[in-house]
């Protein structure tokens, strides 16, 4: 499988300002993103996620290090890279004064989509994002969810093989967020590579093939969600549901450091005449992994972002 992003020693240091010392926002990160995967980039506020995206998309120059995007060198071929990527920033930033259709057409004009293809492609995108009825509505008059959807549609207008999505579902209602998550999964099915930052750990776990956790400018873990969780598991946790002679149920949780089999045997031994209804082995959640790596709870991270746990994310 080809790597569409290869970053080596990527570093960004912002020089000292009037009231602040120099800031090492990204500190020598190395990673690769494979073609066709959804790659999650997780970390608390100020960890370096957005700076990394800004460097990879050519918005800001790395202080040192290098990267190749779609085979092009970031330092020397930024314009070529821009032709092959779509970027959805954290804020929906299309033009308030243009209609939904005109915003899409303008995106295509910038990226050199042939004139004869523009109208059909714009209509198809509006249809795909359920915005056909809003084609002639000014961007300013669309709901928040619709603005987000149209911003993503505009990033896809030139059929980029690599898309950067920066917090795509933050601040959206449950249904809009669910629709966008389905759309992101659909992009992967079409072979589009997605670089995704999100504060919703459940969302990352559900969507991402692999994910990196960045803390204070450094990548502290990079694996599949399953791999990250397995790596974080120090003890086997077994949950046993028991029922006594009077039909009362009881749930017990046992921790064992010498494997699943020993844990189950211990759990059965603890039953002591009670009926065993179920024995479940429990793994760590992605949130456990995140807390361990960052020292920050998911709640704190969402609060920092102004998000609300369970608001934007509700499965799907």
């Amino acid at each position: 499988m080809n790597d569409v992003i290869q970053a080596a020693g990527l570093t960004k240091i912002y020089p000292a300002g009037k009231d602040r010392p120099p800031l090492r926002a990204v500190d020598g990160i190395d990673f690769a993103v494979r073609q066709g995967e959804v790659f999650g980039f997780l970390g608390p506020n100020g960890a370096g996620k957005t700076t990394t995206i800004r460097m990879l998309t050519g918005l800001t120059r790395p202080t040192s290090g290098s990267a190749r995007i779609m085979g092009f060198d970031l330092a020397a071929e930024a314009t070529q890279i821009k032709k092959h990527i779509g970027v959805v920033p954290e804020t929906s930033n299309l033009y308030d004064e243009l209609t939904a259709l005109d915003n899409l057409v303008f995106s295509m004009q910038l990226y050199g989509v042939p004139r004869r293809e523009r109208a059909a492609r714009a209509e198809a995108l509006l249809e795909r994002f359920r915005l056909s009825e809003k084609r002639d509505t000014l961007f300013a008059k669309l709901s928040r969810g619709m603005k987000r959807a149209l911003t993503i549609a505009a990033a896809l207008a030139h059929h980029p093989p690599l898309v950067f999505l920066d917090e795509p579902t933050t601040g959206l209602d449950v249904m809009s967020a669910r629709g966008l998550r389905q759309m992101i999964a659909g992009l992967r099915d079409e072979g589009v590579t997605v670089f995704l930052t999100t504060h919703y750990l459940e969302e990352a776990e559900r969507l991402c093939d692999r994910m990196a956790v960045i803390v204070k400018g450094r990548i502290v873990a990079l694996d599949t969600p399953g791999g990250l969780k397995a790596g974080a598991q120090e003890k086997t946790v077994v949950e046993v549901i028991l029922e006594d002679a009077d039909g009362r149920q009881e749930k017990r949780r046992l921790e064992c450091s010498d494997g699943v089999e020993a844990a189950v045997q211990r759990a059965l031994a603890e039953a002591a005449g009670k009926r065993v209804l179920a024995v479940n082995t429990l793994g760590p959640s992605l949130e456990d992994v995140f807390v361990r790596l960052t020292g920050l709870s998911a709640e704190v991270m969402l609060a920092e972002k102004g998000g609300k746990r369970g608001g934007g994310y509700a499965g799907g």
Binding site: T79, L98, D102, F106, L110
Partner: protein, 243 residues
């Protein structure tokens, strides 16, 4: 690469004209404001009305190009939509060139209306058309570049408006619009020679009165220099601000 840049310049200008420039308040402001100023002066000095035409055209193109241009970039930067353009496959000079082109197109459009009215009133006899077109184009480029520079140099829309007015209003009174350069005190003449409006009014005066190319060529060259220097400064500042 060049084809990408030219295409993006064209569409950025077109988008700006549709989204920001061709709105009723801009059109009426662009035409009525210079007229009102010149009318006030003409009422006081009725015999010299015809002499005010080059200044009227200069003012129209100054305010027509720079008023919106000076706030468009800072406005888009605040909304994040400037970043969309910076993510597109277009160089920074071409991006800013698109903005410049939009300002020029609007300024030249409103100036054409004012020009048509003044020629209808005072007649078109003796006009050096080629010189007139060159003077209008170069003045539009210089003032649009001034607007772009103001827009990238500040962070807020109100700062852009304040800075633009700090530059334009003194220029209006010292740029030979109401008082010919030769009639000014020597010290003010030195200041006037530092202002692009002076050269545009002088070139327009030569074009409208069938004057010689000799001195007008120097005026055109200075206007071109203002356009190039201000544009280059705007590109540099925008590049620094983007980091």
């Amino acid at each position: 690469m060049l084809a990408d840049d030219l295409r993006c310049m064209f569409y950025i200008a077109l988008k700006d004209l549709r989204a920001y420039y061709f709105k009723p308040p801009n059109i009426s402001w662009g035409i009525l404001f210079p007229f009102a100023f010149v009318l006030a002066f003409a009422i006081r000095n009725p015999g010299e009305t015809r002499d005010l035409v080059p200044g009227l055209l200069g003012l129209t193109i100054l305010f027509g190009t720079s008023s919106m241009e000076a706030i468009v970039i800072v406005f888009e930067r605040r909304l994040g939509s400037l970043e969309r353009l910076m993510l597109a496959p277009v160089s920074l000079p071409a991006l800013l060139g698109g903005k410049l082109l939009g300002g020029m197109a609007f300024g030249l459009t409103v100036t054409s209306v004012v020009l048509a009215v003044t020629l209808a009133v005072f007649g078109a006899g003796g006009v050096n058309w080629l010189l007139l077109v060159l003077a209008l184009l170069l003045a539009a480029a210089a003032f649009s570049a001034l607007g772009a520079f103001v827009s990238v140099a500040v962070r807020e829309v109100f700062e852009a408006q304040t800075l633009a007015n700090l530059i334009r209003f003194p220029m209006m009174f010292l740029g030979g619009v109401f008082v010919p350069l030769a009639a000014m005190p020597p010290a003010l003449q030195v200041i006037a020679r530092l202002l692009p409006l002076t050269y545009s009014v002088e070139a327009l005066r030569a074009a409208l009165s069938g004057g010689s190319w000799g001195s007008a060529m120097a005026d055109l060259a200075v206007l071109a220099m203002f356009a190039v220097v201000l544009f280059a400064l705007a590109v540099r500042v925008l590049a620094q601000r983007s980091e």
